[in-house]
Amino acid sequence: MRSAFLAAFAASALAASGAAAQEKKKPEPPPGWQAKPFSLENPAADFKIALKGYIQADFRSYQDWGAENADGDSTLPDDFEWRRARIGFEGEWKRLSFEATADPAFDKGDVLKDTWIGLRLTKAIRVRGGYIKLPVTQEFLVSPAKTDFIERATFVESIGPNRDWGGLVYGEISRAVEYQAGVFAGDARASEGRAGTTAAARLVLKPARWLDFGGSFSQGDVQADPTGPGLDPEPKGLAGTSLSGYRFFPSVFVNGRRLRIGADARVHAGPFSLWGDFLETREQRKGQGPTLLDLPEIRGDGWSATATWLVTGEKKTRTIRPDRSLFGGPGAVELAARYEELRFDDVENEGFESAGSRAANVRPAGYHAFTSGLSWWPSPFLRLGGDVVVESYTDALRAPTPGKKGNYVTLLGRVQVHLP
């Protein structure tokens, strides 16, 4: 992996020198400031700033869960929530670019979102610093306003990284190679299981315009809480939480290296796309046994396969813009289907199989889900979505209803409104 990135950097440097020589003189922009409803720009000064944001309202309905606690309450009652309310701005000034986004009201966990400042040296070498996403798994790098389904694949949220403070070098080389490489203060600032200083990188190869191959990794060290009389350490291992919000694999005690290795592939042609994503994590458990002995590494493996079809014929891109908005046409309609799995286990399997957080032989827990989804963009500013999720669990004992592996059906609905 390291040699691949060195090669990418060298190639980008060569490409950058060539690109500079080929720059053409642009026509003179009109002078003065131009105010638009949500942006302000001064083309002569090469400056632009724009408001950005969106709001999401979600509904969930658990169709046949039947799981009740001792009080007769459903473990997951139907609910409505204001899922996200992102607001911020982004802009450019000459070679600088910047963004600040927050979710002050609704998003669980972390109010601060993408907040960074960047510098474009060349198309092949750009740098960005601030509070940004670690470049691991392609789906995580897609805005939640633009994902194909209401929820990302479970493994992306459960074992993938999140945002953290750090710096990133990235760029595109000859339209055939994209890279991102950075160093971060951790792998998820808002997570209690956050690793320490983490290196992360992602390389995408594009052998054809319709085909991408990606690979990514991250590595950092997790430091366990101290143990001892009067102390109550919390486990920091990665946990498994299903699309419906059920935690099927609780966090275990980890200490030491946390490694992620991912791979993905994407095929897109006209209104169709097919893509797959894989991520494996390994977490060391140094000194985390019941008697403080080292335990075997814990491993998490997740993958998904997705197919999408823009029924109304638009080209599949990240941002869907209907060819004919409502009243002039049907808007844009996309159908999507995804199958995914996520599994946790330790790398050895000897002795008593335990669900405990310091188990030498971790009782494995796996999860499968099939999601079918429908998205409708009546206009570029409005998206309505509905997903049907069918989940099952490999460990019947720790399924939402003990003894019942599946199927658990959840209906999800979303209304999303963007700033233009």
Partner: protein, 413 residues
């Protein structure tokens, strides 16, 4: 490219087809692999759970990672949970949480255990219970005191936890005689008090306390010594308790008894205290070190309380036990028994307890039955903190107390 005239119609057909596929989850529906042993609760009250049947010496097996068991023993003062499989009389419950428990009874050699059935398996229950106490019986050389005491409480009309003896095997090794104790929790409350929506407080002895007024802030009483076990998250969880303690302290003498009548069944409470005295207990509501060893339940309708006995291993201390011993040691019993009529209720209850139950006619047969049930298991128990001779002597001591309590009380009237 357009397969359907209406994109929406196409979408609906597509979705319907996908959903009809049933999810391809990779596993067949409802094919549980390991059987959550799912014993269904016995018909009727959870108190009828067969694991608490006192006429049987139960067989309990605990299987867990040997390192986890070693860690539990090494850190026996810690409340760290470990995952284990528990089997009682052949009925297994998997992946329970088990930890060391107790106050003075904690032991490295023979740990007392608290079992949480839903620690690692959400919503898992065993005969309707979420937890179970496996008492190590290390503070009572006779191992019989709690069993006999709860029998007397029940006979006196005071709801008490059921308990039953069990031989405990850990990872195939006999670990000694223990007692399976019914937890005071929602199933107990529902079965014995008829409701469970109120707030249950576990009285945790941290320092000597006597129901004295410590101000109107709930934090002066919660979570120590009154630990809420239900409704913990409600913001007003301690309001009723504070008001109760305020009433205990601030109500004028002239109206005290009638005022207390709105807070609790006074005669029942005095019967509880009288039963402790009949059993010659030194560590209960009128204990030598202040209040101890009870749960306090506030009914769901609020402002109405009941005491529930717990941990009766300090009973049968002596055949000669003062009739009004320690009644002055807490505000509630002192003020209630200052009323001559209520003092009489208390004394009558002690007499009834000893003449009806704590005597050789009623209790000694119970003792002998239990003694015969456990004797060989105790003798094989090499981890108990006393010898077999001390066990026999302690049983003789209990026999002696039972033999003399009735006459001793009668002599003090």
């Amino acid at each position: 490219m357009r397969l359907f005239r209406s994109p929406v119609a196409g979408a609906l057909v597509f979705l319907a087809l996908l959903s009809a596929c049933g999810g391809g989850g990779g596993s067949s529906p409802s094919s549980p692999e390991a059987p959550a042993p799912a014993p269904t609760a016995a018909p009727g009250a959870p108190g009828g759970a067969p694991i608490f049947n006192p006429s049987v010496l139960h067989e309990a097996k605990l299987d867990l990672d040997p390192a986890a068991w070693q860690a539990l023993r090494n850190n026996y003062q810690s409340n760290q949970y470990y995952a284990a499989n528990l089997t009682v009389d052949g009925v297994a419950v998997l992946q329970v949480g088990v930890r060391s428990r107790g106050d003075g009874s904690r032991s490295e050699e023979k740990p007392g255990l608290k079992v949480e059935f839903d620690k690692y398996v959400p919503a898992q229950e065993y005969y309707g219970y979420k937890s179970l106490v496996i008492d190590n019986l290390t503070t009572d050389a006779s191992m019989l005191r709690e069993r006999l005491s709860f029998l007397v409480f029940e006979a006196m009309g005071i709801a008490a936890p059921r308990n039953a003896f069990a031989r405990l095997t850990v990872n195939g090794e006999y670990w000694g005689l223990f007692a399976l104790v019914e937890p005071v929790s929602k199933p107990f409350l529902e079965a014995r008090l008829g409701e469970k929506s109120g707030t249950l407080f576990d009285y945790e002895w941290i320092f000597p306390y006597d129901f004295s007024w410590r101000g109107s802030e709930p934090s002066a009483y919660l979570p120590e010594p009154f630990q809420p076990e239900t409704n913990e998250s409600k913001s007003d969880v301690g309001d009723g308790l504070v008001a109760f303690i305020e009433a205990i302290n601030e109500t004028p003498d002239a109206s005290f008894v009638s005022a207390m009548g709105s807070w609790l069944d006074v005669d029942r409470f005095l019967t509880h205290v009288a039963t402790e005295n009949a059993l010659a207990e030194a560590d209960g509501v009128v204990g030598d070190q202040g209040l101890n060893n009870f749960y306090l339940y506030e009914y769901g309708a609020k402002n109405r309380f009941v005491f529930i006995p717990w941990d009766k291993d300090s009973t049968f201390r002596s055949g000669a036990w003062p009739l009004y011993r320690n009644l002055e040691t807490n505000v509630l019993t002192r003020r209630l028994t200052a009323d001559p009529a209520k003092r009489q209720v208390y004394a009558d209850a002690v007499v009834r307890a000893t003449s009806s139950y704590v005597n050789p006619r009623w209790l000694t047969p119970q003792l002998e039955t239990a003694y015969q049930q456990i004797r060989s298991a105790v003798q094989a128990d090499t981890r108990k903190p006393f010898t077999n001779a001390q066990f026999e002597a302690a049983v003789d001591g209990v026999r002696g107390v039972i033999a003399t309590r009735e006459s001793d009380v009668r002599a003090q009237r």
